[in-house]
Amino acid sequence: MNVSLNTIKQWIDFDLPPVDELVTRINAQLGGVEKIIDLRTQYQSARIVKVLTCQKHPNADKLSVCTVDVGEGTPIQVVCGAPNVHTDMWAVWLPPGSVVPSTYGTKDEFKLDAREIRGVMSYGMLAAGDELGINADHEGIMEIDEHDLPSTVKSIQAGQAFSEVFGLDDTVIVIENKMFTHRPDCFGQLGVVREISGILGYKFTSPDWYLQKPGTYPKPTNASIPLQAFNDVTDKAARFMAVGISNVTVSSSPLWLQCALVAMGSKPINNIVDATNYFMLITGQPTHAYDADIVQKNADGTKHDELAIGVRMALPGESITLLNGKTYKLDVSDIVIANHEQAIGLAGIMGGKDTQVSAKTNNIILECANFDMYTIRKSSMRHGLFTDAVTRFNKGQSPIQTNRVLFELLKNVIGLAGGVQASEISDIISDSLKNNVESDEYHYPVTLLPQFVHTRLGLSIKKYDMVQLLKNVEFTPCEDCGWNPEDTKDDRDDWHVSVPFWRTDIHDPEDIVEEVGRLYGFEKLPRELPERSIRPVAKNPRREMKMKIRSAFSDLGANEVLTYSFVHKDTFQKAEQDHTQAFQISNALSPELQYYRLTVLPSLLDKVYGNIKAGHDEFILFEIGKGHNKKYHAADDNGLPRELEFVDAVYASKKPREGSPYYQVRQLASQFCMNLGFTCQFKPITKELDYPVTAPFDQSRSALIETREGTFIGMIGELKQTVLRSFKLPIYTAAMTLDFEGIMKAHTTAKQLYLPLSRYPSVTQDISLKVPMGVRYAEIFEVVEHTLEIVAGDKQCRLLPLSIYQSSEDKTSKTITLRVTISDMHQTLTDQQVSRYIEAIAQKTHEQLGAIHS
């Protein structure tokens, strides 16, 4: 929102503080200032001058040589190429050394100098409208007439600063639009100047035409336009107003108006359109002007007997060409402005091209209406049209201001373009709004206890002060609702605060709290901490668990990474996961973010290659993250997709190491579980599994992990060769996908087992068992463990794998060597005793697994 300080000064009778201070106050009490535009500097050199003489250039047909009074006594010589330059005209001169205003602040600033043009010296230039950055006119230089002057300026003299006469010695404060999402009034200069008055502590009074309830509607001078307004959708257009004006003269606006529009960030077009824009910029209420004769035309070019204009929904298949020249296919939920035959504007967004006011226009219709903000917003998004009108309508403009703005616009259009009111004023109001229009109030007064404000702000602000703060911005707070305004404690009675009609955002007592707090100054609020009991706060067990997991991985040399929750479809293909199980993003800006990931592991696999390229030869990446699955977990968490939490890791080594990489992650997983206080078992996958989790793994070289109690922990293993290739992974890569819930359960239910220390030395013996290749290590281990339990159950036994050996001659068997350490709590064990246990083991493993003790 561009706020022109020169524009708003007309409505206040106090001096604004210096810009720095003003901006600080606006930031602190109204909304964030995005930037400050200094028009004064842009226009600092431009001077109003009078052309004294004007002769044809001796060496060029299209150039003139002029002498110009620049207010310094000696006339200055300027060569000018404009066809309209003539003696005695008032023009704008840019002296040598000045920057052409339209290029000011751009990359290609154009600095003028004194130079010879076809053999004649020219000092600076006489400027056209486009060079001044005011309008698009490049046909000729800007000529200043009497009617161009602002009403406060009676006459001009050569040498006067152009900016001072036309109000461009201005500072424009740009406030972020999102500050005003809830403030329809602040999209007009009036709304902002009211707030500025309020925060500076001055009472603001809106101009009468805006503030006072209009009396009787203006009558037509000559009812030559047969206006028939209609409103078929009063639920979408609470108010629709229109009026006809005949015999207007469309031309460019007087310069003062053009300059005012420029200062407010708009562009002059012609006097009619400029007037509609001007009133939008000062009130926030968009309006539109139509060429009445075109609106009244039938499709065959004949004239319809009446001029119908109104609001309806778009019809199926209807389309319209708008002012931007583009044609839009309309949707039946778009509100349109239409005549008797077709849509002539996309309501609240943009007018139609055909019915726009042009130089040929003689008769016009002015429209001023109120539309449903949500419908306008949807249409705007649907068609990708974001106009000044949308910005204002989608904040919810007050329907109480509609007639006020139209009346003032009508008066000003006639003042600018001549003509007479040529129809009654149509005003179609929805039934639900009629009472509000009658009472001239948008909301009922808000009722609250003064104490309500005190407790929410922590302030003991005097009621009298609150009343003044609110009155400054034209609220009407009840001043004597049975309480003493000087009193800070009295909370016996309700307080009624009448809300001005433009504040459609105020309905709750909390809204009044915000007003009072903001106008008073939030920086003055008492800063005190809430009181609390000494009850200890419960830490979040899931968060604590995740920290333990990080620490457990960290002890194993792993690196925690965070990767995106969304993946490209290709990632599923590479990991051989079924993408149809994934939730799909419908509006992602990038194809990298098409789907929610199913599991975390593919994201990790995707990050291995880059790290290897960067020179990291061996590493472990892990991530604690979420996956989602619409096939299995679409709505099983209170109607929402279950969030599956994974603890995934990948181990990769650029150079292969000894043995299969599986054993590297097995070691990692085993240690990881031990770090978290539980032991796990690795089970072969006997039947091929088909889940997103299992998809990337080579299942013949992978294992499922469980605790000894049977809690499922996850899966580890080597990856399919195709997966390795797709992700460009080194051969020596293996991975794990663990279930957070399982880890958490295993960790929280794990018992810390303590074995008392024996006073007697322990005895250690190794046992080597040769078994057929088909026998698994775990089978041997279990039999050994079980046997020891039977024969030495009262003693402490520890089993440790030492080696798994296979000779190069015999590939059908392997020899597993275990170290058995036994200690007795009550006596010194002898080797003979331990040897008996070893023999028992040899015998049992032979019987059950065909092991040969060597």
Binding site: E523, L556, L562, S700, A703
Partner: protein, 345 residues
């Protein structure tokens, strides 16, 4: 023709060692052979062209076959602790480990808030529009929804609305208020933070990420006022930076708080003294977070009576805290999984 034969042998040799086999089809030598065709005398063109095409097809075939033939490795004994004839695998040195700077920082933040009496919750990565918007006083079609560039899913919720990737941790407010509502009955405050992942549909650059972390704070009790919000945040930040700080609030707009503020702190890095401060651009202030008094409609949506209870909420970007702390120049590093980056923390 000799060139073709020679090139063929070269390319076949290269194919064996290529990491990305399909790249063989992009070999410049192959392009060169094709480029020769139009330069040849007309009578030689046909034979030459055919030979080049055959070579091209042969290479294509090789690439295709390579794709299909996957080496099938034999099963292994997954119950064994190490491989046959191999020693026990070595664990990587602890010194090579790293914990992500964002999770480290979140742990620090949680620790301070725990000590201040706040518990910590987790957020979601898929949520419905009720929690993301409606329960936070954004009615359907509200223009404020546009300020949150929210990812939407093709899949819909029970009401037929698309699901969202939450654009703020405030998506958890309603759940937290409901979860801890009973503590109000025993005159204890609802006090919780939610540090977690959020998403905005934005283009990436050095300052913008579509995936980042926020920490949400919610505090509700009797007689909570706006001054307490400012004091609480100031206390947290002073604990976080370990020094006294100035703070200031500017009015702002959020549908779910009223009044709403933008909260800034005096730059803890330069303390306003240094002529060139990269963190605060020498302005002396850092706009850090959005906050405000919880809107009565938000309390009502959680069945808490706004006549009796009031509260405040805040939301702060964690990535920004981390970037300022270490002087990280590009936000994209955080989710890049680059070890060169991660190992510095």
């Amino acid at each position: 023709m000799d060139t073709i034969t020679k090139t063929r042998l070269e390319l076949l040799a290269r194919f064996e060692v290529l990491e990305t086999k399909a790249d063989i089809l992009k070999a410049p030598e192959l392009k060169k052979l094709f480029a020769e065709i139009p330069k040849l005398p007309v009578d030689q063109r046909s034979a030459y062209g055919k030979a080049v095409n055959e070579l091209h097809q042969e290479l294509q075939q090789l690439v295709e076959t390579n794709k299909q033939t996957s080496i099938v490795l034999p099963p292994i004994d997954v119950t064994a602790p190490f491989d046959i004839n191999c020693p026990e695998p070595k664990i990587l040195a602890r010194t090579s480990a790293s914990i992500h700077p964002l999770t480290q920082e979140i742990a620090i933040i949680c620790d301070i808030f725990y000590r201040m009496g706040f518990t910590a919750e987790e957020s979601r990565e898929i949520d419905d529009q009720y929690h993301m918007f409606e329960s936070l006083n954004f009615p359907k079609g509200h223009p404020a929804r546009d300020d949150y560039d929210t990812f939407m899913t093709v899949e819909t919720d029970g009401e037929g609305d698309p699901l969202t990737a939450p654009a703020h941790t405030s998506t958890m407010q309603n759940r937290i208020l409901r979860k801890y509502r009973d503590t109000l009955m025993i005159d204890e405050a609802i006090a919780a933070i939610v540090p977690d992942r959020v998403f905005r549909n934005e283009d990436l650059d050095a300052r913008h990420e579509h995936t980042f972390y926020q920490v949400e704070g919610v505090y509700v009790a009797k007689n909570v006022h706006a001054g307490m919000l400012i004091a609480t945040l100031q206390t947290f930040l002073e604990a976080y930076y370990g020094k006294k700080l100035e703070v200031r609030v500017n009015p702002f707009y959020f549908p779910f708080t009223e009044p709403s503020f933008e909260f800034a702190l005096s730059c803890p890095f330069c303390e306003g003294d240094e002529a060139i401060c990269k963190v605060c651009s020498s302005e002396g202030w850092i706009e850090l977070l959005g906050c405000g008094m919880i809107h009565p409609n938000v309390l009502r949506a959680a069945e808490i009576d706004p006549e009796i209870y009031t509260g405040f909420a805040f939301g702060c970007g964690v990535d920004r805290l981390v970037m300022m702390k270490y002087g990280i120049e590009d936000i994209r590093h955080l989710e890049s999984a680059k070890l060169d980056f991660l190992k510095q923390f």
